[in-house]
Amino acid sequence: MSCPKTEHILQEYFADDLAPLASEEIERHLAQCPICSAELNALLQTRDALAGWQDSQVPHWDRGMELFRREHQAPRTENSWFSSWQWLPTGASLAMLCVLLLNTSVTVSGSSVSIEFGDSDNADISANLADFQQQQQQELQSIIARFEERQDNNNIQLLQAVVAQTQQATADNLDRIYTYFEEQRQQDMETMRVSYQQLVDSDYATIQSLQDLAQFVSFQSNVQ
């Protein structure tokens, strides 16, 4: 006992999108053909049984961490004392991100920059981004001026990029900004590493270059 249409009907039944006419034809045939409808039920049951799969736990493995560390972190262990410095530029970057994301006010007094977090309990972040205030932009500009005084080219670029991105004020830019921060951090680290290396390489560690380094670090701390 079989129906010549079964294959066609059921194959089309599982298609993704059917023209209304075709699906009407299928429904009509299924309603009047017990062979096809019984077969369909069996197939649907089979499909449901397969869908009952519950994800099995992944056996323990190292997630490629050893490989990753081997290829990325070799230099860090050589200068281990240096690693405590690496987050200072990131601190500055994160502070700037807070300025952008939260209703934050920035005040510049004397030689330090202080950042206060405004009322951001239920801050709708994208809304805040959209009406990023002129005033804050001016404050950013004044920070830029201070940075220029200190002739810190890296950070001027960073801030200018932030301001430029914010004028477009689309949330889509945020991850690009984040990536930029991360790149910036890497560059800062590299600059620091090179400075340190130069210091170590030279037989005479002059007081001047030590002061330069110390100034750079304390400057970053101030911003943080």
Binding site: A15, W53, Q54, D55, M65, Q73, L174, Y178, R185, Q186
Partner: protein, 191 residues
Amino acid sequence: MSFIDEDEALIAAALNGSAFAWEKLVKRYESKIYNHGLRLMGNSSDAMDLMQEVFLGVYRNLHRFRGDAKFSSWIFRIAHNKAVDLNRRKRILATGGSSDDEGPDLDRYPDEHGDEPESRMQEQQQNGQILSMLTQLPFDQRLIVELKIYQSQTFEEIAEMQDISVNTAKTRFYTALRKLKTVSEETHVLP
């Protein structure tokens, strides 16, 4: 902060050397990839091999990932290609045999025996039954079932990925489903 694509942020950080970001990225996908491998390869040790190859491929090509497609589609495409590869290698190794009669390696599945909670036992029993059904299918049919049922792809996407026509994909899925139906009826009749 749902507007930031977390995968992409993790990728950017991993590319910059953050091991933490890499691990987080792996953790997000390892279960999906492992279970995908389990259904396709039929046993846990091949599924582990496949998963490790997939993540190695992801790691080696991470810098090539451009945000055009979603990361999840990208990684599953890698997984698909690696599964086809691994299956081909296995067939060549299996003394040049042309059949897909390996059968599920139920000794190896579930991986850990012992005092498992009951829900876990049931889950493993259920998955075990599904696996013994799936492994009755030729590999190309198993792939279609995987993509259609477990990854909810359209026949068009499947056709594109496998370089076959949409009609072939539909026919293959229907054939696979019919075969699975027969297999499950047989196993249900037997105690």
